[in-house]
């Protein structure tokens, strides 16, 4: 604002003029949120990094930190935490080799296509190379622990299995349910509210609930287990059954999230193209496959992303439902970090959390560049929204 027009001699007036100044207003809108995030996310993040390189101990009247360099990280990949974090590595079975070589070939082929296309800048190529190397390294770990006789997977692989399997199943179920409740059947409003409910329950409660339900001798399904002669069997004592139970709990709880967002998208979509398709004699399946589904791509990419980054943090379900057992089979990285913290190994805990952060960031960045941006940019008749994936 021009100083000449400012009411002179009155502090209040000057303040008022300043308040109405557009550039001040602009900052007043953004800064409160930024300050909160800087204070409670960025500062702790930096502090955590320092902690990850230190040894923490209690001392008189507080605590002290001693710089230990990469020791905490070395502990995770080759020290006492390694058996929990990475699992036990063995030579892969023939099937493991097939999976590993097939997966690596796929990654290499995708890289080759990107280089050939010449549309990616050198820095992008470098980052993609790092991503590809990370994927291949992870695949190697995966086949050595999952597809290897005598090997078992650690919390890192387990967390990723929960995330990808859970998110995939939740998306498919959520899409199916959303399609069911837009058909205009009577009572669909009731079903919509009903389908939302699991999301509103605390994960801790869900964990106890499923622990009750899955119990083979006291749970509601025990007659079935009895008929099958399996009362002595407990799903929580078998590695993959216990993991499946956790995924089932997660799917039960979070399918509603996918459902509600996809429902909102289906409700808000433009029906004219579909109508035209039907007039031209398209079958219901054709219209769903070629018109409805492509229209859902941007929202799907966004909602899968949101759910995926939430799923990486899973801790409540394994902590309560299985206590991480049998052994450490259902432990996740978050839970391992929490247990380290409880054992007063704060440096180790921070280092574990940082490895998770690195994995999540790698996955998120790859997802945003490879899927989300493309999906939202290609959407027919839509522009890229501001918030997401930009």
């Amino acid at each position: 604002m021009d100083p000449e027009t400012r009411p002179r001699g009155r502090v209040l007036g000057a303040l008022k003029a300043e308040w109405g100044n557009p550039s001040v207003a602009r900052n007043l809108f953004l800064w409160p949120a930024l300050l909160v995030v800087l204070g409670l996310a960025l500062f702790p993040l930096v502090a955590s990094l320092v902690l990850a390189f230190s040894f923490f101990s209690f001392s008189e009247g507080g605590f002290s930190l001693r710089w230990v360099g990469l020791d905490n990280f070395a502990n995770i990949v080759s020290g006492p935490q390694a058996i929990i974090y990475l699992g036990r590595l063995e030579a892969p079975s023939p099937l493991g080799w097939v999976v590993f070589l097939g997966g690596s070939a796929l990654v290499a082929w995708a890289m080759w296509r990107t280089i050939r296309s010449g549309r990616v800048r050198p820095i992008g190529l470098l980052l993609r190379g790092v991503g590809a190397a990370a994927v291949i390294a992870f695949l190697w770990l995966f086949v050595q622990t999952v597809f290897a006789p005598g090997g078992f997977s650690g919390s890192l692989v387990t967390t990723l299995i929960y995330t990808f399997v859970g998110t995939g199943v939740e998306y498919l179920l959520g899409l199916g349910l959303a399609m069911l409740t837009i058909q205009g059947l009577s009572g669909q409003k009731f079903f919509r509210v009903l389908f939302l409910i699991p999301m509103t329950i605390t994960p801790v409660g869900v964990a106890y609930m499923f622990r009750m339900l899955i119990d083979t001798s006291l749970g509601p399904f025990s007659p079935i287990w009895q008929a099958l002669g399996l009362t002595q069997f407990s799903p929580f004592s078998d590695v993959w059954a216990a993991r499946a139970c956790i995924i089932i709990g997660d799917v039960w709880q979070w399918t509603p999230f996918m459902f509600i967002v996809l429902l909102a998208a289906l409700e808000g979509r433009d029906l004219e193209i579909e109508e035209a398709g039907l007039v031209d004699g398209a079958s219901r399946w054709q219209s769903f496959r070629h018109i409805t589904l492509p229209g859902l791509v941007p929202v799907s990419a966004t909602v899968v992303f949101i759910r995926m980054i939430e799923a990486f943090k899973i801790i409540d379900l394994p902590n309560i439902m299985t206590n991480g057992g049998p052994g450490t089979a259902t432990e996740t990285v978050s839970m391992q970090a929490y247990l380290s913290w409880r054992g007063f190994d704060l440096g180790g805990s921070a280092a574990l959390a940082y490895t998770l952060l690195i994995v999540v960031t790698l996955v998120s960045l790859s997802y945003v560049t490879l899927v989300l941006r493309r999906a939202r940019a290609n959407a027919i008749g839509t522009s890229v929204g501001r918030g997401s994936g930009s």
Binding site: G20, P22, A25, R26, F29, L30, A33, L34, V36, F43, P44, V46, A47, S48, V50, L51, S54, L180, G184, L185, Q188, F191, R192, L194, F195, I197, T200, I201, T202, V204, G205, Y208, M209, F210, M212, L213, S217, L218, P220, S222, A264, E267, V279, R284, I306, I309, F312, D316, I320, S334, Y338, W341, S349, Y354, S364, S383, G385, G387, S388, S390
Partner: protein, 341 residues
């Protein structure tokens, strides 16, 4: 919005299709309801009934009792009611705080252009890092903090002009949203130490502020998509009439965006209501919330399912009531902007 499909005969399901759709919906309803039914029934059983095998229907194969409810609500009275009160206070106030700050920022990001300088941001991060390192090396926090601020201000004043490269709104939005990617375990220890230093450990304020900060990204994400869908002509007219940005925001944007606000509020409330990990670190007794209470029903002889069921029911009921009342806002308000692009 009514479903337009309803009117058109061309898209109506055949009788067989309708039956199949109902069958599927009922099947999923069963999957949703049965665990909840089991929870409700368990809350009416005494420990012996729970531990001697499955009983399904009250009055038919077991005699229901309200003793778990009276024990939790009357005998243990304040021990249950305080966490419940804490959950209500923390849930509502952190959601309101997140919604307020988040929608202000979201609006700013959709309507104004910000051009923060890369150099200044790098300077800020560098100074924070320096402060942290010096604190680790034994400098008192107050001193480290003051020096850091002073260094930042001085360098900003004298060197700030040299940094020309700028970032845009999208980068700020992405930065805010990316905070949601942070696993809470990665940041909770410093937050714990921070609140310990401030003497706020085990206080409601600590939980409110932390939850607001963790849920802010969700609000910014959903609301900036929503605001982007609000036509700008309305605001331009008001601007011509001399309304200030605050007035435009308050009297024009907020009323229009109400469905989005309600839906986002509900989502954030659910997250804050059910949060477990941060509460585990930051609250012990005074500020304990319901998820901690539920988790604590694990006695040495195994989980006390009957009490857990009661606590869970107490937690679920208010949220379901909320969801039923606000149902019409939910699909209308969630991600409308994202849907339209």
């Amino acid at each position: 919005m009514r479903n337009p499909l309803q009117k058109r005969s061309a898209r109506d399901l055949s009788a067989r299709g309708k039956a199949a759709a109902y069958a599927l919906m009922l099947f999923w309803s069963l999957i949703v309801v049965f665990p909840l039914y089991w929870l409700a029934v368990t809350s009416l059983k005494n420990p012996i009934q729970v531990t001697t095998g499955p009983y399904y229907v009250p009055f038919v194969d077991f005699q229901p009792t309200l003793s778990n409810w009276t024990y939790m609500l009357i005998d243990k009275g304040s021990e249950t009611l305080r966490p419940l009160g804490n959950t209500v206070i923390v849930g509502l106030s952190s959601s309101v705080l997140a919604l307020t700050l988040g929608s202000l920022a979201a609006y700013g990001l959709t309507r104004f252009r910000y051009r923060p300088r890369v150099g200044v941001i790098a300077l800020g991060i560098g100074v924070i890092a320096l402060a942290c390192v010096s604190m680790v090396l034994g400098v008192p926090p107050a001193l480290a903090f003051t020096v850091a601020v002073a260094v930042f201000v001085i360098l900003r004043l004298y060197m700030g002009r040299r940094f020309r490269r700028t970032l845009g709104n999208d980068d700020i939005a992405f930065f805010l949203i990316s905070q949601r990617i942070l696993p809470p375990v990665a940041v909770v220890i410093p937050i714990y130490v921070l609140f310990q230093r401030l003497g706020l450990l085990d206080s409601l304020l600590a939980l409110i502020v932390t939850y607001a900060a963790t849920n802010l990204p969700i609000v910014v994400w959903f609301m900036s998509d929503y605001f982007a869908g609000v036509p700008i002509e309305l605001e331009e007219a008001a601007q011509v009439d001399g309304a200030s940005p605050y007035r435009i925001f308050w009297s024009i944007i907020l009323p229009v965006a109400r469905p989005g606000l309600v839906a986002t509020f509900l989502l954030v409330l659910v997250f804050a209501w059910n949060e477990y990990l941060l509460a585990l670190f930051l609250a012990t007794t005074n500020a304990a919330t319901m998820p901690l209470m539920v988790a604590a029903q694990n006695a040495t002889r195994g989980p006390q399912y009957w009490y857990m069921a009661v606590l869970n029911m107490i937690m679920i009921i208010p949220v379901i009531v909320f969801a039923v009342i606000l149902e019409r806002y939910i699909t209308r308000g969630l991600l409308t902007g994202a849907v339209k692009g």
